[in-house]
Amino acid sequence: MKLNKNNYRYDFPIIANWVKPNSKVLDLGCGDGELLNYLKKERNITGYGIEKDPDNWLKSLKTGINVLQVNLEEGLSEFEDDSFDVVILSKTIQSMHNTEEILNEMLRVGKQVIVTFPNFGYWRDRIQSIQGVMPKSKELPYSWFNTPNVHLCTIKDFDDLCKLNKYKIVGRLVLTDTKSVRFFPNLLGALALYNLVNR
């Protein structure tokens, strides 16, 4: 993952922009807790992270994150309706089996939902597909035979899912490296960031 000069991931400031100060945040697949710690610093948030990988879990613990080892595929039954201001699923949706279920659960638990994912419609991925191989890129570094990703999608696919389930999109940003992509985002964008609300 590309780091900018402050040593955090370049999508963090965008996510932080969508998070109101002092929010209560739940980060699904929080990894080593970097995003939650960034949001603590920048937005004074409180919150919890969910992480099932033991090594990442321990890293999160060591940085003081309230980290819970729960399997997301089993839903968010530990959490009450509307109990969080923001629920974040950052670059994790593509590896989930129950994609629709988790989005519904996030919108049940959170008043606001932020989802980010690698755009499978990105031109570099398309070229590799045309060349007859499974795409690999900075955002998708895995080979087809060892990838955790089972539900890759394009920006258009995700828009269709939002329409189908009547998710309300209040913000969308598409990035390639650190730059925002406005023209043909589904072709020229590598990473998509969505800001949704429950109604």
């Binding site: 613990l61 309230n66 980290v67 819970l68 080892q69 729960v70 530990e78």
Partner: protein, 374 residues
């Protein structure tokens, strides 16, 4: 250079309370003793004290040995000591034998000062709530106004929960391992079989067996064998013993045929020689009675409302007596109250017993958490 890791020789102390303790049952203990041990040094600010609560058959002897000839160290010696996860170079660690115990605290085997005789069967039933109230009196006598942490597994974990509920101002961190907010029917059932095996042993004599020196060893032995089966997982029993035989071939009699039988018999015999039956049935009762929310999951959130401590909750995948889902009930009630909580589910094959083992991930987590408490 290797770091010193063992506590060395330790000595217990006695706390004598002359203040009456009103028990949950309504009875009153006019005065009582608690035997306890401490390890490490209480610092000037008195903010480095950690209380470790024991489970069903544990006691105050957490770590170290009583003499250089002592074969076995305290029951949690793999966790507690200099440079161990609960580091006695940093923390002042306290272990207390619970009321009703038989290792020096007031219990069936101690003298009732009113009658000048052994308590025996007359020693009242004590509960988790009573234990925590008596612990608090001891902690206060040590001039500790706030514990850095309270730690416990299984029944010990229930005491940690009770500490956080009952004395929210006096505990900074709660470490709850392989525990549950109450027992399931299945768990109570196992306890009842264990109790019945003791109570129906003719030697039990309604709990008055000290004078005749005829402890109900047969009953205790069966209770322990049953316990052992439930503390292990099917998998670990399979891998440890499988269908291995004592002899080369079947003997076609009722003597010990399989390794697992031999193991259980050995454990049963050993326990029956060492442990007091009156204590055992009382400890299982305390397990059965503990239920801070009267069986309601919703109400547990309300009971947790005043909690101020931070929590670490740990469960083990193969533990079916205190399964991970029971730990998640605790976590959920904490989340409902926005309480700081970390939750780990450790992959372990050894069942409920895993909480006493030196599993690397488990001990690394505890070490990291304990270090964060200072």
């Amino acid at each position: 250079m290797t770091l010193k890791k063992n506590i060395g020789i330790v000595k217990p102390e006695i706390f004598k309370s002359l203040n009456p303790l009103r028990l949950q049952s309504g009875k009153i203990l006019k005065e009582y003793n608690l035997i306890y041990e401490t390890y490490g040094t209480l610092n000037k600010k008195k903010d480095n004290a950690v209380l470790v609560c024991h489970a069903l058959t544990g006691n105050h002897h957490l770590a170290g040995r009583y003499s250089s000839k002592d074969k076995c160290p305290g029951w949690w010696d793999n966790l507690i000591g200099p440079n161990k996860p609960l580091d006695t170079n940093k923390f002042f660690v306290i272990g207390i034998n619970n009321l009703g115990g038989s290792d020096g605290s007031s219990g069936p085997k101690s003298i009732n000062k009113q009658t000048k005789k052994l308590w025996g069967a007359d020693f009242p039933i004590v509960t988790v709530e009573d234990w925590v109230n008596s612990h608090e009196a001891l902690i206060t006598s040590l001039n500790i106004s706030k514990l850095a942490g309270v730690v416990g597994g299984s029944l010990g974990g229930m005491q940690v929960i009770q500490w956080a509920i009952r004395f929210p101002e006096k505990i900074k961190h709660a470490v709850v391992i392989a525990a549950a907010p109450n027992l399931t029917a299945q768990n109570i059932a196992f306890n009842e079989v264990a109790r019945q095996s003791i109570i129906t042993d003719p030697d039990f004599n309604t709990g008055n067996y000290y004078e005749t020196n005829t402890p109900p060893r047969r009953g205790l032995r069966i209770a322990r064998m049953l316990g052992h089966i439930t503390y292990l997982s099917d998998d670990v029993m399979g891998s440890k013993f499988g269908r291995k035989l004592k002899n080369k071939n079947y003997q076609y009699d009722f003597k010990t045929e399989f390794e697992i039988e031999s193991y259980l018999n050995y454990q049963g015999d050993k326990f029956a020689k060492e442990f007091d039956a009156n204590t055992y049935i009382r400890m299982t009762k305390a397990l059965d009675y503990y239920d801070p929310s009267n069986g309601s999951k919703r109400k547990l959130s309300k009971v947790f409302k005043k909690i101020k401590s931070k929590f670490l909750v740990i469960s083990f995948t193969s533990d079916w007596r205190f399964a991970p889902n029971r730990s998640k009930e605790i976590v959920k009630a904490l989340l409902d109250n926005n309480i700081d909580v970390k939750y780990a589910e450790i992959t372990a094959s050894s069942g409920h017993d895993a909480f006493l083992m030196e599993e690397p991930r488990y001990h690394t987590i505890l070490k990291s958490y304990f270090n964060s408490m200072l």
